[in-house]
């Protein structure tokens, strides 16, 4: 690479090269943010459940007998 | 054991004969759309024929899959069957019944479609029709076997009609490739033994793996 101009335009293929890298960035960043938000919302949910009065919690637990356990 | 199960399947199917006829009707109607959409000229139709007939056969097999499993699962008789005999033999009986009642009729009906699609255009005999039937004889059982795995997996799922198609169609691609190209090779007056042999190999591989996988899947769906 000899100049910034060449770096940006990549010969005459700037659109192709940059769109590839940009799409990769968008998709991977999307996964990163999505997974982070998923964990965060689960954490909040668990916090809310912990705050709820204990009587309600046991009731909810009884209702949700998960077959996976 | 498998024979008893098979007899039961056939007996159940006899009560639901119209459900069995619908996929066959679909097979014919879909193929007859192509002359309207493309062109009624014989050379064009002949070129399209292998692909069109094979795709239609594949879709008809997928459509017919549901009735061999769905009602048995819903009324609980599948659970009883699995209590009485091994899951693999239940799967084998269902696959056999599916082929006998859908695959075999498709093979028998295919000469009619060969006529509609002008498959023997420009050749004196009807050798291409025989090749088409042969490719379907070797290919449709594999479609049944793979379809059984997909159907057994989706039995307990909440949405299933199209789900099974999504799961199974990618796995059907190799069969479609070699099934259609057997007929194409015949149309181009080339040797088609290799393609038939590969279809046969797919069938053998599927016979080894699919009944077991389908049995496991049935067990998961019910258990």
């Amino acid at each position: 690479m000899s100049s910034w101009h060449e770096f940006i335009f990549m010969g005459k293929h700037g659109a192709y090269v940059w769109s590839s890298y940009l799409m990769t960035l968008i998709v991977l960043l999307g996964l990163f943010i999505g997974f982070r938000m998923m964990l965060k919302s689960l954490k909040q949910k668990a916090q809310q459940e912990a705050k709820a009065p204990s009587g309600e919690r046991t009731k909810a637990r009884k209702l949700k007998v998960s077959p996976t356990e | 054991m498998i024979l008893t199960l098979l007899k039961r399947e056939l007996k159940v199917a006899r009560r639901n004969w119209i459900g069995l006829a619908i996929p066959l009707l679909f097979f014919i109607i879909v193929v007859s759309l192509f002359p309207f959409a493309v062109s009624p000229e014989a050379p064009v139709l002949q070129k399209l024929a292998p692909g069109v007939i094979w795709v239609a056969a594949l879709l008809a097999m997928l459509l017919s899959l549901e009735q061999f499993y769905r009602s048995d699962y819903q009324d609980g008789s599948l659970e009883q069957l699995l209590l009485m005999s091994s899951p693999t033999s239940v799967a084998i009986s269902k696959i056999l019944a599916h082929w006998l009642l859908t695959g075999l009729p498709l093979v028998i009906l295919s000469p009619l479609l060969a006529v509609l699609m002008q498959i023997n255009y420009g050749s004196a005999g009807s050798s291409h029709t025989w090749v088409l039937m042969l490719s379907l004889v070797l290919g449709t059982p594999t479609l049944c076997l793979l379809g059984a795995v997909g159907m057994s997996l989706t039995l307990a799922a909440s949405r299933n009609g199209l789900l099974v198609s999504i799961l199974i169609i990618p796995l059907y691609v190799p069969i479609l490739i070699f099934g259609a190209s057997t007929v194409t090779a015949s149309l181009e007056n080339m040797r088609y033994n290799g393609e038939l042999a590969i279809l046969g190999a797919f069938l053998l591989i599927a016979i080894v793996f699919a009944p077991f996988a389908s049995g496991r899947a049935l067990k998961i769906s019910v258990g």
């Binding site: 590839s20 668990a46 459940e49 998960s66 | 799922a157 999504i166 990618p170 793996f209």
Partner: protein
């Protein structure tokens, strides 16, 4: 050996796995970012253009395309291995891993297709070619989406896990068959493959290997992130999850 076996069993415990991955994750991210920075520097700046085939700067697309394509295959194989572990040893965390690999693998497959298509336009003059590799990659994407759709269609998670595991194993048996069939079909219709690769010039190897390493690590990091969310999702009622969420526990598994 006995130690390794015990460790393997410990990984089956959601709490242990969550804590361990929480400890690993910062290190993996750190290594990823370093490799990625160096790799991007080489792939976008400090590497020559392709002259022999006249690709020019488009050769730089290879540095994201090849890692994505490689990972799309490896991810599916990893899914099938985890699925087998889950079915044979009845290990629930293996099923969680299968479910966590699927979206990242699907994303890699999509990226391989997208960058391949963008690369194809200037080199072959077309966005899409029914080339053996691209077609197999497309079918692989369908397999990933099929798994995700199947898993999402069950109300009972353990059924979804087992059905999905069987699908992953059936799929992995089929991948070579699909690939060889498509390759045969492609040579029949075109007689050549557009993605035939010659020996790679050493000048292109440095950025490629750097990017391969970076993308592998990035993949691992994303899968672990998804896995951690999946573990919490599956153990919402466990006491250690409540402790983790409210920060009562001394150990912080957060990263």
């Amino acid at each position: 050996m006995a130690n390794a076996w015990r460790w393997f069993h410990q990984l089956g415990s959601p709490k242990y796995l969550f804590q361990k991955t929480g400890q690993w994750l910062p290190w993996i991210w750190g290594a990823t970012l370093i490799l990625l920075a160096v790799g991007l520097y080489y792939s976008l700046w400090a590497s020559p253009i392709e002259v022999r085939q006249g690709q020019g700067h488009t050769v730089r697309i290879m540095y994201v395309h090849v890692p994505a394509a490689a990972l799309s295959m490896i991810a599916y194989i990893a899914m099938a291995i985890a699925a087998t572990v889950g079915l044979v040893w009845k290990m629930k965390m293996a099923f969680a891993a299968v479910r966590s690999i699927a979206p990242v693998g699907a994303a890699m497959t999509f990226l391989a297709l997208f960058t391949g298509s963008v690369w194809g336009k200037p080199t072959w003059g077309t966005w899409w070619e029914w080339d053996a590799r691209m077609t197999s990659e497309l079918l692989l994407l369908f397999l990933y989406l099929g798994y995700i759709a199947l898993h999402a269609s069950f109300s009972d998670r353990s059924k979804a896990d087992k059905a999905g595991a069987i699908l992953a194993i059936v799929g992995v048996i089929n991948i070579p068959i699909i690939y060889l069939s498509v390759k045969w079909w492609n040579t029949l219709h075109q007689g050549y493959s557009v993605t035939e690769e010659g020996a790679l010039d050493p000048a292109f190897q440095t950025p490629l290997f750097l990017m391969l390493g970076a993308m592998y690590l990035l993949f691992a990091a994303l899968v672990i992130m998804r896995l951690r969310a999946e573990i919490i999702l599956r153990n919402q009622k466990a006491r250690w999850v409540t402790e983790w969420a409210t920060g009562q526990s001394t150990e912080r598994g957060d990263a």
